[in-house]
Amino acid sequence: MIRSELIQKIADENPHLYQRDVEKIVNTIFEEIIDAMSNGDRVELRGFGAFSVKKRDARTGRNPRTGESVEVDEKHVPFFKTGKLLRDRLNGG
C-alpha cells in the first residue's frame, strides 16, 4: 500500500470530504509525527506502535573499501517499535 492508496481508501469511506482535504488529513498526520521526532519527542499510538528518537554515540568508523578511519559524529535516528495489538494481529491473534 502506498500513500495515494491510503488516501483513496479514506476518501472512499468519506464521500462528504473533498479529496484535497483527505490528502491534507493524511499528510498532516505523517508530518506531525516527523515534526515531533525532530523536536526529540516520542509519538505513542497505542495498539499500532511508538515512534521515538535514539541517540547514536560518536564513533570511529572505517571506510570498508579503503580501510581508512573516519570520525562519525554523534547523531539521532528515528526508531519504531510495533505495538502489542498489531504484533499479535500479525501473528493471527
Partner: protein
C-alpha cells in the same frame, strides 16, 4: 530539551487545526488511517509512505531460544515481525532537529 510524548489526541488536534473538521471527526480519521495501515500489514502488504518511511512484514523462522536466567531451551515459533525503515527525509529532519 524536555521530551514529550504525543498521542492520537495530538494528531487529531493537528488535523482539527489544519483541516477544520470537528474534533470528533478528526479523531475518527486518525483512527481510520491507522486501521487501514494495520489491516494492510496484517494482510502481509508493505506500507510505503513516500517521504515518511516504509513498514514491512518479515517472516522469522523457528529457532531454539534459551531462557537467559535458567539456561533452559525453549522453542521459538515462526512468527511475523514488523520493521520500519525511515525515509531519508525523516532521517535528515530527525538528525538536524536533535543536533546540539
Amino acid at each position: 530539551m524536555a521530551e514529550k510524548t504525543l498521542t492520537r489526541m495530538d494528531l487529531s488536534e493537528a488535523v482539527f487545526r489544519e483541516v477544520g473538521l470537528s474534533r470528533n471527526e478528526s479523531a475518527q480519521l486518525v483512527e481510520s488511517v491507522l486501521n487501514h495501515m494495520s489491516d494492510a500489514l496484517v494482510r502481509g502488504e508493505s506500507v510505503k509512505i513516500s517521504s515518511f518511511g516504509t513498514f514491512s512484514v518479515r517472516e522469522k523462522a523457528a529457532r531454539v531460544g534459551r531462557n537467559p536466567k535458567t539456561g533452559e531451551e525453549v522453542p521459538i515459533h515462526p512468527r511475523r515481525v514488523l520493521t520500519f525503515r525511515p525515509s531519508h527525509l525523516m532521517k535528515d529532519r530527525v538528525a538536524a532537529g536533535n543536533k546540539r
